[in-house]
Amino acid sequence: MSQIVPIGPYHPLLEEPEFFTLKVEGERVVDMDVRIGYNHRGIEKLAESKTWDQDTFLVERVCGICSTSHPIAYVNAVEDLLELEIPERAKYIRSVVAEMERLHSHLLWVGLAGHFIGYNTIFMWAWKYREPVLEIFERITGNRNHYAMIRIGGVRKDILKEDIPDFLKAMDELAKKNEMLTKAVIDDPVLHARLKGVGVLSKKDAVEYGVLGPTARGSGYDIDVRRDAPYAAYDLVDWQVITFQEGDVFAKAAVRLLENAESIKIIKQCLERLKELPEGDFFVPVEEIPVGEGIGHGEAPRGEVFHYVRSDGSNCPIRHKIRAPTFQNLPSFKASCIGETIADVALITAAIDPCYCCTERMVAVDVDSGKRLFNGQDLVRLCQEKTERIRDKMKG
């Protein structure tokens, strides 16, 4: 007998609300559907009534976590329209801010994933190490989030020479902590048993669904806008794209943890270059935007962000299309969740680092009797209990 398990629509842990309907037989998921749109704000329409400069700040508010990826993709689009080259210093600053954002986003995810599977130590560690990243953000941009650093033609604020030594020191410390955290996760036998082979997204499915970012790279689909279409300073520094072939939750976690180390590497190289470059030359003034169209993309922590703008020569765009990575990553649940148990679906949906919702508002209802079976806490409990069982088995 199959039952329907609704998850959603409000998500108290991560960002946006979404509503999953799982069709289950026993504990196994046999079909699944996703409903989104609860938080649709019509930003694309709103962008048509704001000026080109205001839109930079508007798109920053698309997401609280990727709040620099959207402006970067947007200014890439406008600079593509203008065929504008920005100063070298601005390129390095853009890369620093974007990589800092990746660091804090990945650490946040690792912490939450740790909590989901009953590893609260990982949660405490990851969030503790995320804190210095936010403190640096506050020092160099004035804000812990929504940094407002990006403008058409460059960046809004310089990174001062006197801030760089402390910044580099913080990165060195974070590199050590991140290495410890990475080893703790990658070498843990219980985590291997718990996460390997769970929610496998094959490379073929990854390509068909057009998934992006760590979700794609965890499935052996080797794409990264930073390398494939270099923007900011990514072609001026030395770093690697991390890929894993397995496509399971473990691979996605490993991609993110190892990417943190690459981000630290990129930031350090950029800061060293910033020390040498003359201060002050960090933007070119842009007077007006001519008629035309432009396409810009950038690699956000969750994958490629894509922006298209069209201008009629006025002070506002006549069309501004925004495509966030979760829009492509979400539908792939159909390929990775079916056949898994409810305890794992909670984890697989979280592994894509989407705007995932479950917990408090989630209830499982027996379709025939209308009786409630699970609520949100039960879902997290199921997930944690499975880890506990594996741990006990390994001990015993």
């Binding site: 669904y209 279409a229 396409i295 993309h297 298209y308 069309r319 492509q328 539908p331």
Partner: protein, 143 residues
């Protein structure tokens, strides 16, 4: 643009396409509706392009749909432009053979009122269930 991909498109589809090379990394290909699916298949299957997304723009003559394909290895974005003419606003669906186009076609359908022929699952995606039929929020007439 590398690989001479634009030349190949011109050779294969002749007068049904009009190619515009904007820069070394961006190109726009205006196509007739009748060859849209063939051009898309040509890019996806023979040149392993990645479907990024589609943008729709409301114009005087209808809704212009832009399918953005990324050729990641060559750092090129080829945008295929096609016009869904007024008054019917219909277009062939890419989602019939491409999962990645499923959601964006649903979005364009509800926001602009373009009907995608052959789409496997044309339900609402973003708008609430009680949104009035026949009102399309992203059209220029909506304020």
């Amino acid at each position: 643009m590398s690989d001479g991909i634009l030349k190949l498109i011109e050779q294969k589809f002749g007068s049904q396409v009009e190619v515009q090379e904007k820069s070394s990394t961006r190109a726009y290909v205006m196509v007739e509706r009748s060859v849209l699916l063939d051009v898309a298949r040509f890019l996806l299957q023979e040149h392993s392009a990645r479907f990024c997304t589609a943008s729709a723009v409301d114009t005087r003559w209808g809704v212009e749909i832009l399918y953005h394909f990324s050729l990641d290895l060559a750092n090129n974005i080829v945008t295929v432009k096609v016009l869904a003419k007024k008054p019917f606003l219909q277009m062939e669906s890419l989602a019939s053979f491409l999962h990645a186009a499923n959601w964006i076609e649903r979005e364009i359908n509800e926001m602009f009122g373009v009907q995608f022929l052959g789409h496997p699952d044309m339900r609402r995606l973003l708008l609430p269930d009680d949104w009035p039929e026949g009102e399309y929020p992203y059209r220029r007439t909506q304020r």
